[in-house]
Point group: C2
């Protein structure tokens, strides 16, 4: 390894080209309203190439008072619902000259706040949060006047938010069961502290209602702490009139449910139909899982678009955008026997 020699600066370029530093800046940035003679431009560009000069973005950020960097706060990138979101964000960020910081928060407020401070110190231009544990981050963002767009939740009126149509997604899943002749339709879900869960339940109930099926509290299994599919199945199938169809909060839960059911000798979909949510894993299971597909990539992309738009136009009205979900019918659902 050679001795670490410092990177060339615009000064070096200017000297080599025989011009001033501002001239270098002008040609490199194509500064509007400034005309540079062809000859000068050529000399500068040549010097840039000769020195393999890379402008120092740090210095530029300091001078321009913006970094063209944004941060993605994510619960956990290793959770399969997030990578596609991240990809959507990164794609549009990159296409617009922005660069992306990845921040895993594990849904812990402390971590969120810490990362918030770090990103504030780094002077990112804006933040996209894939779910927030509470309003702390929002408060800081407002106080510091930094744009924050929220994915899914919470739906704060002070910020742009992009979310999926959970009510309709849920509704369509249950309606699919109804059309297949099912009447005993269970829903297994997680802690309804989050609006997402509430909307899913809302869609579930609305579909039942529209189908003329009375809501049965015994068929709605909510887990406030850790989801225990085994327990849910136990209780569900010791009912006098057990379900013939099960709708879960996620693909992951649906897979657990299928495994338990198969282990107990039920056939899917002949004996029990199952629908998941997300479409992250649904195509991989055997039998392939019918599920409600969420537009994760589009959600990320849209969030990034809105953020970048807001950076250009801070006074644009707040946007709350609902993206459609789609029922994807595969092999885990069939006519009620």
């Amino acid at each position: 390894m050679t001795k670490k020699k410092k990177a060339p600066t615009s000064w070096d370029v200017a000297r080599l080209a025989g011009v001033s530093r501002s001239t270098v800046s002008f040609v490199l940035n194509n500064t509007p309203g400034i005309k540079i003679s062809e000859e000068t431009r050529r000399r500068v560009l040549e010097a840039v190439k000769a020195l393999d000069y890379k402008p120092n973005a740090i210095a530029r950020s300091l001078a321009k008072q913006k970094t063209e960097a944004i941060a993605f706060f994510v619960l956990d990138i290793a959770n399969p619902v997030f990578p596609n979101m991240a990809r959507g964000i990164e794609d549009v960020a990159r296409q617009n000259g922005y660069t992306l910081f990845l921040c895993n928060t594990d849904g812990k407020t402390l971590r969120e706040v810490r990362y918030m401070n770090i990103m504030l110190e780094r002077r990112v231009d804006g933040i996209i949060a894939g779910a927030l544990s509470n309003e702390e981050v929002s408060k800081i963002a407002q106080k510091k006047n930094i744009p924050l767009v929220i994915l899914e939740h919470p739906r704060l009126p002070e910020h742009d938010v992009v979310y999926a149509d959970n009510v309709k997604g849920s509704y369509e899943a249950v309606m699919h069961f109804v059309e297949l002749g099912h009447k005993r339709i269970a829903h297994i879900t997680i802690n309804p502290e989050s609006i997402i869960v509430q909307e899913r339940i809302e869609g579930y109930k609305k579909a039942l209602e529209d189908a003329g099926i009375p809501f049965d509290d015994n068929l709605l299994k909510i887990f406030y702490d850790k989801v225990d599919e085994e327990k849910a199945i136990n209780e569900l199938f010791s009912l006098p009139d057990p379900p013939t169809a099960i709708f879960t909060f996620s693909d992951f839960m649906a897979i657990q449910v299928m495994k338990i059911l198969i282990r107990r000798g039920y056939r899917i979909p002949e004996d029990v139909s199952v629908i998941g949510f997300d479409d992250t894993l649904a195509n991989l299971t055997i039998p392939a899982l019918t599920t409600v597909s969420q537009p994760f990539y589009e959600m990320g992309a849209k969030a990034a678009e809105i953020l970048i738009e807001r950076l250009k136009n801070p006074n644009m009205p707040i946007q709350h955008i609902k993206l459609p979900t789609k029922l994807v019918i595969r092999e885990s659902t069939a006519k009620r026997r």
Copy 2:
């Protein structure tokens, strides 16, 4: 929204505390070798809190000539083998005060080079690359003297690299088949341009050899372009002596194989045993897939550790670190009938 007012600077803090700007810097950084009176320190800290002052990391980076930021070049974060790696990297980066840029390259050299330039402009302290399409990035890194650690591939001697023990992983998978009595063991894999594929084939052959099973070229299915599991199965099972066990390059391929087999009426594992590689999706299938688990998280974490170590000590000898894989036996493998 209030009018965008500028963030407070160390100057504001200094003025409020009635001290100089350097004093502020000293107390905030606990600059070693500098003693500050309790009284002064208290006043400064109070002013910091009163103004909700956040030091400008951009200005600091410019002055210190380092950013405490690193970049992760990844083929595609939406590919399930990478999120855990990213998590490993981010965890150790964060714990060491570094911040992570996420860069999807799609394995395209052009994109890699572009991102390389961007990250060079942003003066990141170092780069971790999760697979590189060729040596372009390496050349740039060497030229610019910026630390680059490579995950898996290519195994360039000029850089630190962290990789999984593919030979052993492959060997153990095949040996597991052997122990179950299988003699006709197929391997379906992708384009062997990459060392990873070569090592897997090496392990496959070595296990056969150690088991005294002659290598049969008909059982090794290599796809130079797109993998076509359907075709592989067709050819494999029209052999006079078809395989009773199939080892694939990835979990994803194993799942496709299982689906095809099941569709054709084979039972798994009764009729055909299957082993995958990665352990990203293996737990989702029914039957659950036996697979070679890769230490993705650890690989990411280790890469980040090495990078940070090298940042502290640039002259440390180059490290090539091989991490162990682990055979995880689940339900897709059984004794040969």
